[in-house]
């Protein structure tokens, strides 16, 4: 079963599909220009040494954004299987 959560809450190596981008204005435009639109699969591939920003893999490239920017992105994820 798929649940939705904010991109900020995703864990490293977790994959999901973008369900909604709630940002407007310049931030929203920038996010969409980079290809973060609903239906796009994203994987969290890492976080910076101070936990913020977060690095994502989507459409064959790597993107970083700050956690407070990740708040605007809602992702549908499959529940994690037996994560330690």
């Amino acid at each position: 079963m798929t649940t939705t959560l904010s991109l900020r809450a995703m864990q490293v190596d977790q994959t999901g599909v973008i369900a909604a981008v709630n940002a407007t204005g310049e931030l929203g435009r920038r996010i969409r220009d980079m290809g973060l639109v609903p239906g796009t699969p994203v994987t969290v591939i890492g976080r910076a040494p101070l936990k913020d920003p977060v690095a994502l893999r989507l459409r064959d490239f790597t993107l970083t954004l700050r956690s407070n920017e990740a708040d605007f992105i809602v992702v549908g994820v499959d529940p994690l299987e037996d994560r330690p």
Partner: protein, 716 residues
């Protein structure tokens, strides 16, 4: 016949590499008028045509919000290049096509160049370019810009396109029923009113209204009637979309564009090997280089290594240049008759410009490494790792490089540092970075610190330098925090940034980038700096000493020359003492000396007398001048900043100096107005009002801090 060919593409798609491959040495770099976005142009002879190739700034979209993107779009729309080459990173086809669809919607004649095909092939990915070309009705060429593979085919195609019609039918993407209906209605309004029609296709214009594009809305407002009708249609659609779909039209447009691209790439245009290894070279490298613990450690090691290399490699050519200017000065002294002209040429022109040009090797090496870090993709990782820290002070992850180059490690220089702030795309963070970078302890301030530390804190020069460097960082970060919450207030710019794959830069590209920046620096030295050097020389020379003072020194000399002296060495010493006394005397009555004396009431609370004041005024020209001017003012003749032992002893012995004067002076030198080369660069990068602000603000801050230190110190 002339024609224009524009290169467009995402950042890091290899546009500039292609540009270099196409135009070779026949290129030049400037700025777009009034802004600091770089403009590269080159010439190319092609089938009897003289083609002007323009490398537009990297952009992800034609919906412009940053200056780079606005430049790229305006060029496309207003200058109407005869053909556009869209340079795409073929390893990242999907996102790259987002820009392509927008260019196609505009109807500009286009060639799509799929760059980095070698990487695509190595990964075993297949792209059916012929079929994609047919679907987009646009020529698509495979290219490896680094090696030049495919460039000839590209030129052939470009020649064909340049001779062809200037327009093609704009691409028509469906944006869903609601949007399409409104778009058609708006198109009718636009066509009926001939609204801005010479510049944009009607549907494209309607789309820009729906996207709320500020630049287009501003143009449209010139024709209020149509503008209002279009806005009305936009608003009612926006209300409808929000009610039924809970989304803005601009979001829907982006969704549909990506939907169109996904549909294009479906059914076998791109084939991937079944067992695709997700962890390619970049991922493996990133696992180490951006690791939570190893990443920062390696980053500091890399920065430190770069610094050591810069100074050890830069030292030798710098020494050569210094000797050259020394030789030039000596030659001029011998050739010219003694007098004002000789003094102007030697002290004003050769010393002034030579002092600035002497930095050229350092700047060259520094920019070479900087270009390497940038072109290889590592710079983006540094920004990623440090963004959290810098954000607390209202800066951006990308501010780290300008800070380090400016003197984050002692020995930097704010001139290349300020220029390095160009990598910051956000205006507010860029201004804050540029204004605060000069607080760091640049290489020219270090001799002053060492002199004072040696004199008043004997044996602890290294520790003093460490704390002064730390103080520079604290001052820069705190000042940035203050500026960002007062004068340059505003939301932090989004940190939506790509981490490009690691790539080995081409030597040619690195050399070209380095040369461009060094040349800008040298040009500045030849103009602004020359003028200010001459002004400063005049201030320290005129008006010369009165006739009776000169006569007095002559009489003293004559007395020594008298044969009663039998010890040659003693006579030479005595003559030198008189020469020095005369120089000090002349300095005291010069304009600079009078200003220095007049400033004594102002500088007394900081513990500085007229001699220090002149040195600080000279330090505005270049901080290196501080030590040598202090030498002159303390009648020691020329003092080599590298060897200031005699001056140290003199300062300690002078009753006007104590430990707190030294600390106060250190703080003042660290913080006060940047040298004029830096001010000139700041003026060019962010505007002359900010440059003036930087002089005033830094000096005021230095004054307050030094006064605090001195007053508290002597009260203790």
């Amino acid at each position: 016949m002339n024609a224009t060919l524009a290169l467009m593409g995402n950042p890091n798609s290899g546009k500039t590499t292609l540009f270099n491959a196409l135009t070779g040495a026949r290129q030049h770099v400037g700025n777009y008028p009034g802004i600091t976005v770089e403009k590269r142009e080159g010439r190319l002879a092609l089938g009897g045509l003289d083609i002007n190739v323009v490398d537009l700034p990297g952009t992800y979209s034609l919906t412009a919000y940053s200056q780079d993107e606005l430049v790229a779009r305006d060029f496309l729309v207003n200058k109407r290049p005869d053909a556009v080459v869209a340079v795409l990173d073929a390893t990242n086809l999907e996102r790259s096509l987002y820009l392509v669809t927008q260019i196609l919607e505009l109807g500009t004649p286009l060639i799509i160049a799929l760059n980095m095909m070698d990487e695509v092939r190595r990964k075993g990915v297949g792209i059916d370019t012929a079929r994609l070309a047919a679907m987009l009705d646009t020529p698509i060429l495979e290219l490896v810009a680094r090696t030049g593979e495919g460039c000839d085919t590209l030129l052939g195609e470009a020649a064909r396109l340049v001779h062809g019609p200037k327009k093609r039918a704009p691409l028509h993407i469906s944006y869903g029923r609601d949007l399409d209906e409104t778009l058609e209605k708006m198109q009718d309004i636009i066509e009926a009113a001939c609204f801005l029609e010479n510049r944009y296709p009607a549907r494209w214009l309607a789309l820009k209204y729906l996207e709320n594009d500020p630049a287009i809305l501003l143009q449209g407002a010139a024709e209020p009637e149509t503008h209002e009708r279009l806005l009305g249609a936009t608003h009612s659609l926006a209300a409808h979309c929000r009610k039924t779909l809970n989304a803005d039209p601009e979001a829907l447009i982006a969704d549909y564009r990506y939907g169109y691209i996904t549909a294009l790439l479906k059914d076998g245009i791109v084939t991937r090997p079944d067992t695709q290894t997700r962890r390619d070279f970049t991922d493996k490298l990133d696992a180490v280089l951006t690791h939570r613990l190893a990443g920062p450690v390696l980053m500091f090691a890399i920065i430190y290594a770069m610094f050591m290399l810069t100074f050890s490699l830069g030292e030798y050519p710098m020494g050569l240049l210094e000797s050259f200017f020394g030789w030039l000065g000596d030659t001029a002294t011998n050739l010219l008759p003694e007098g004002l002209v000789a003094s102007l040429v030697v002290s004003g022109v050769i010393d002034g410009v030579g002092g600035v040009l002497g930095f050229t090797p350092l700047i060259m090496v520094m920019f070479f490494f900087l270009s390497f870090l940038e072109d290889s993709g590592y710079m983006a990782r540094m920004a990623y790792m440090l963004d959290r820290v810098f954000r607390m002070f209202g800066l951006h992850g990308c501010s780290v490089m300008p800070f380090i180059i400016s003197g984050g490690i002692p020995g930097g220089c704010a001139v290349p540092g300020v220029m390095a702030a160009r990598t910051l795309r956000s205006p507010r963070e860029k201004i804050a970075t540029v204004l605060t970078a000069p607080f760091l302890s640049c290489g020219a301030k270090v001799p002053v610190f060492l002199l004072l530390a040696a004199a008043f804190f004997p044996g602890s020069g290294a520790a003093a330098l460490f704390w002064i460097t730390a103080a520079g960082w604290v001052a820069a970060l705190l000042a940035a925090r203050v500026l960002r919450s007062t004068l340059i207030r505003g939301e932090a710019t989004p940190f939506v940034m790509e981490l490009p794959p690691y790539r080995l830069p081409t030597l040619r590209g690195l050399c070209l980038h380095t040369w461009e920046r060094v040349w800008q620096y040298v040009k500045k030295a030849g103009t602004v700096i020359l003028a200010i050097s001459i002004l400063l020389w005049a201030a320290m020379t005129f008006p010369g000493p009165s006739a009776e003072r000169t006569a007095m020194f002559e009489a003293q000399r004559a007395a020594i020359q008298a044969p009663s002296w039998d010890n040659d060495a003693a006579r030479v010493d005595a003559l030198a003492a008189i020469d020095n006394a005369e120089v000090q005397d002349a300095l005291r009555v010069s304009v600079a000396g009078r200003v220095g004396t007049a400033l004594e009431p102002v500088s007394a609370p900081l513990g500085f007398d007229w001699r220090t004041n002149i040195a600080l005024l000279g330090g505005f020209a270049a901080k290196e001048v501080i030590v040598s001017t202090l030498g002159t003012a303390y009648s020691l003749g020329e003092v080599d900043p590298e060897d200031s032992g005699g001056l140290s002893a003199r300062l300690v012995a002078d009753p006007a100096w104590n430990m707190w004067t030294a600390v106060s002076l250190i703080a003042f030198v660290l913080l006060y107005a940047p040298c004029f080369v830096t001010v000139a660069v700041i003026g060019r990068e962010i505007g002359w009002r900010w440059a003036a602000f930087s002089v005033g603000f830094n000096t005021a801050l230095a004054y307050v801090v030094s006064m605090g230190i001195y007053q508290v110190g002597i009260a203790l």
